[in-house]
Symmetry: C2
Subunit: 257 residues, 2 copies
DNA sequence: CTCTCTCGTTGCACTGAGTGCCAAGATCCC
DNA sequence: GGGATCTTGGCACTCAGTGCAACGAGAGAG
């Protein structure tokens, strides 16, 4: 078998070599100042092979979004009726964060690049849009029959993406220092508090346990499943809200169908 | 002065001729099957002039978004402290709708085009993104000092855009039949009910304008700060979340600096 | 009236992304 | 060894977009 020695990876060596060469040139020369011919020359491969692995020059900057999008789609597809939809899409968003957090250095470099190059920003937008549509499609399925089903699905999906990106960008701006998971959890918590309600009928579980925190990780945890009946509901309302509204919120929060 | 006779417009005749020629060819031949040379040949002008009026081939499909974006920016800039921010951005979004509603036939044709051509969808996304950033920038200015100012600004801007687009697209899908204004008002009413609150100390003014929203306004709504000492905080976490995370959420929610 | 200065328009040549086609080499299976 | 198949590379082509310089019409000065 091929030894996992110095070379980058095993499965698609050429692809990774192209990404490495591309980023090296992009960083030292700039994106638009680098031609595809420069990349393939540095990588030592034929120009035609570049476009075999990447449909366009922009794709080489986002080499793993396609896989991540597939993961997210699968994650949403394996969701059951028991899952609370808003929580589910928030968890799906965390998949994207995890991908960024896997390679902080790479992500920060790419962020600097996309911030400067309008063409890359536009490309990133189209990628983000596909994530958002995946979330919205899932939510539409879960909210069919509800009063403003598709409207709410679209708005919630947009809110989740915006919150995720807000936290992600602030993390990237700080050069990947700090815990991205915490920031994203906070941002998604805001969205969840705004739109979410747990489907669990368990009413009484007032406060989380002290927890000796064996897991410093806020449990981003990609493919988690249904086994979280132990949520704690916290709800923000005005004190001047009529009581019936509070009760209504409360009831709908703890799991109407 | 030049008479406003039969011709489309007066100021830039060449620009309009290019738009007309482009759409004629796009509709009968398809976007990607039409080259810039085809357009300029039909319009009877030099190829170089095309790129004088439109930075790229895609721009000819959205000839008036630049102006609309400037209008929106101006509209937001002339806003005073007295305006309720969420209402203001909703009104700003209505400016975009108005532009679409001015030429229903044109808008529907363009919608069909952008729906089919991936490149145009990507371009439209970048345009929409600029609208969203304009809204978010305004909201950030209005929410500075608030607990999660920039987060809330980004999320609200995204929600407004999503709601607007939801209604707009459904109107476009129906060939421009029906009242687009009503649909958008309803969608924006949902957003306003979700995020909005009157900045006025007047407690009893649920919906000032005739937004056509007799909605009971679920107003889930995140946490306001200083001028609302009467909030009740409700927080959603997992039971297995470490306590430090809960405390952190709690503090950041009730607006520490 | 003519010269000139300017501005809008145009043609031309060039770069670079992306594609189709086919040849050359590697691999696998028999 | 002898295909069949897949990957890679090279070549030529289309088309978007840009820089440059020339051309022509209108405005103003003499």
């Amino acid at each position: 078998m091929s030894s996992s020695s110095a070379a980058p990876a095993a499965k698609p060596p050429m692809r990774d070599a192209l990404v490495a060469a591309a980023f090296q040139l992009f960083l030292e020369r700039g994106y638009e100042q680098t031609t595809v011919d420069d990349i393939v020359a540095l990588a030592g491969v034929g120009r035609r092979s570049f476009f075999r692995y990447f449909p366009s020059k922009e794709d080489v900057v986002f080499p793993d979004h396609e896989r991540c999008l597939a993961d997210m789609t699968a994650f949403l597809a394996e969701s059951g009726e028991a899952d609370e939809p808003v929580r589910r899409v928030c968890d799906a968003a965390r998949l994207v964060l995890r991908m960024y957090a896997e390679n902080p250095a790479f992500s920060v470099q790419r962020y600097r690049l996309t911030k400067k190059v309008p063409g890359l920003r536009a490309y990133e937008l189209s990628v983000v849009w596909r994530y958002e549509r995946a979330l919205a499609a899932y939510l539409r399925g879960r909210l069919t029959g509800r009063p403003d089903g598709t409207l709410r699905a679209d708005v919630i999906a947009a809110a989740v993406v915006a919150a995720h990106n807000n936290a992600l960008r602030s993390w990237l701006r700080s050069d990947g220092k700090g815990d991205a998971g915490v920031a994203v959890d906070h941002a998604l918590g805001y969205v969840q508090a705004t739109f979410g309600r747990s489907a669990r009928p368990h009413p009484a579980s007032p406060l989380p346990e002290p927890v000796s925190a064996p897991t410093p990780a806020p449990s981003v945890s990609g493919g988690e499943r249904a086994e979280h009946p132990d949520d704690v509901i916290v709800l923000v309302t005005r004190r001047d809200a009529p009581l019936w509204r509070v009760v209504q919120e409360f009831e709908s929060t703890l799991g109407r169908a």
